[in-house]
């Protein structure tokens, strides 16, 4: 049994069908990176998995439970699916520490002291302990995103979804976030949508190339970069790799 199974997922917004039948699986501890042109449904796929935008057709299974079933308590399921946003989405009115501990308190019902201790541990893990009592507006983009990652990690999720985590960051700050992601890659199951080819090549167990709402090809980085089966894969990766530079 795979940890995550996405089966024939279709999603439309109004008249436009964005996802036209997506299938893949993930096992515990794997890191998979989804790449592809903008608008091909990569972010939509992530949001279909945590049911923020439930798919019209198809199923998503997490640890053997069909989470697309309307009878399932989606709030309980979401505790197990961490999400890191392109725009960070930190809670503006809370300090970094509180941002991380609030989920533990409200959702996991931990008591305040234990929650804050756990939150502090996660902030240490992402290197932000000294900033624990600062508000998001006082932090740089890279710092905010690392708090976002700590917030997701603290819930001890089964899988963490990353939606273009570095796309909104200044180039100088991208590195610190990718470093954190790399450091947790094999402790945590991660599904990452990104344009960062270096990360994809060095950290991913498998790269999934999506275009036009479907998966065109997927495979280990070596295959995808050097001997892709589809012409389009090679084209895309070639262009992007030269644009973003080798890392």
């Amino acid at each position: 049994m795979h940890m995550l199974e996405v089966k024939n997922v279709h999603k439309r917004y109004g008249k436009t069908e964005v996802l036209k039948g997506v299938d893949f699986t993930m096992d515990k501890g794997e890191t998979k990176v989804v790449i592809g042109p903008s608008g091909t449904g990569k972010s939509t796929l992530l949001r279909c998995i945590n049911q923020l935008h439930p798919p019209e057709q198809g199923e998503v299974w997490l640890e053997g439970v069909k989470i697309t079933d309307p009878k399932v308590d989606i709030n309980k399921v979401r505790r197990k699916i961490g999400f890191v946003f392109q725009d960070f989405n930190l809670f503006t009115h809370l300090t970094a520490l509180r941002n991380v501990s609030i989920g533990l308190e409200k959702v996991l019902k931990m008591d305040k002291g234990a929650a804050e201790k756990r939150a502090m541990d996660e902030l240490k893990r992402v290197g932000l302990e000294p900033h624990a009592n600062q508000y998001p507006a006082e932090l740089s983009g890279g710092q905010q995103q690392r708090v976002g990652i700590a917030r997701a990690l603290a819930m001890d999720p089964t899988i963490i979804l990353f939606d273009e985590p570095t796309s909104a960051l200044d180039p100088e700050l991208i590195g610190e976030v990718l470093e954190v992601m790399q450091s947790i890659a094999h402790e945590v199951t991660m599904l990452v949508v990104t344009h960062e080819m270096g990360f994809a090549r060095n950290v991913a167990d498998e790269i999934i190339f999506m275009e036009g709402g479907v998966i065109v090809e997927s495979g280990p980085p070596k295959q995808m970069f050097y001997s892709p089966k589809h012409k389009r894969t090679g084209e895309f990766l070639g262009k992007i790799a030269s644009l973003y530079g080798e890392e």
């Binding site: 979401r78 503006t92 989920g103």
Partner: protein, 221 residues
């Protein structure tokens, strides 16, 4: 100036009406604003209708209906209670709109992030949305306080003996209209200044960098 004790009695009523209406209006406002934004269709429509009806009719008419109109339906309210109910119901509708504005100005990502953590809609509303919305609606809320302070004087028409009413009685007896009403105006003005200052200080104390008006925002290099 032996009329001062009377003015003081009137002032007590004015302040009582002001603060109680503000408080009840606040609670009502939260219910209406949340109902309007988050409740299912029918409940939301009820909230909208209430707000539109109250905002679309003059306060004076609402007070008349409560004090002079209800007795025909068998309900007799004392002037003070009628004024309190009328002002509260009225303030609630306006406060709901201020709060709604604040709620809708919060980036949608905040709710999305809260739900992604596994919070229920209600948890997200109370832990993430309201704390922010209440802070950013403080300027509008302080405006409501000042507004209420002055509009309590309308309650005079339904026989509530608040500050302005007292003034009218004293002036009618002494014929010193200018002095009496001048003094009353000064009292309202002083109260307004004091309230504004207190709220400003509170707003400053609870400000959070990055949340709220430009005045509050900390500048990063």
């Amino acid at each position: 100036m032996e009329s001062l004790p009377f003015l003081f009695d009137g002032l007590k009523i004015t302040l009582l009406l002001t603060f109680l209406s503000l408080a009840f209006g606040f609670l009502l406002g939260i219910v209406l604003a949340l109902g309007r934004v988050y409740a299912p269709k029918i409940a939301s429509l009820i909230c909208i209708s209430y707000i539109e009806i109250i905002r679309g009719t003059p306060l004076l008419v609402q007070l008349f209906i409560l004090y002079f109109g209800l007795p025909s339906a068998g309900i007799r309210l004392t002037p003070l209670i009628a004024a309190l109910i009328g002002l509260s119901l009225n303030s609630g509708a306006y406060q709901a709109e201020y709060l709604r504005g604040s709620i809708q100005s919060i980036k949608s990502g905040q709710m999305v992030a809260a739900r992604s953590l596994g919070m229920t809609k209600l948890q997200a509303i109370f832990s993430v949305i309201l704390p922010q919305a209440l802070r950013t609606s403080i300027p509008a809320w302080s405006n409501e306080l000042i507004y209420l302070l002055k509009y309590t004087s309308i309650a005079y028409i339904i026989q509530v003996v608040e500050l302005t009413a007292e003034g009218k009685f004293i002036a009618a007896e002494t014929f010193r209209y200018l002095e009496v009403f001048g003094m009353i105006a000064i009292i309202y003005l002083c109260l307004t200044i004091v309230f504004t200052e207190v709220i400003d200080r509170i707003e400053h104390k609870i400000r959070i960098p990055g949340l709220g008006t430009k005045k509050n925002q900390m500048m990063r290099d």
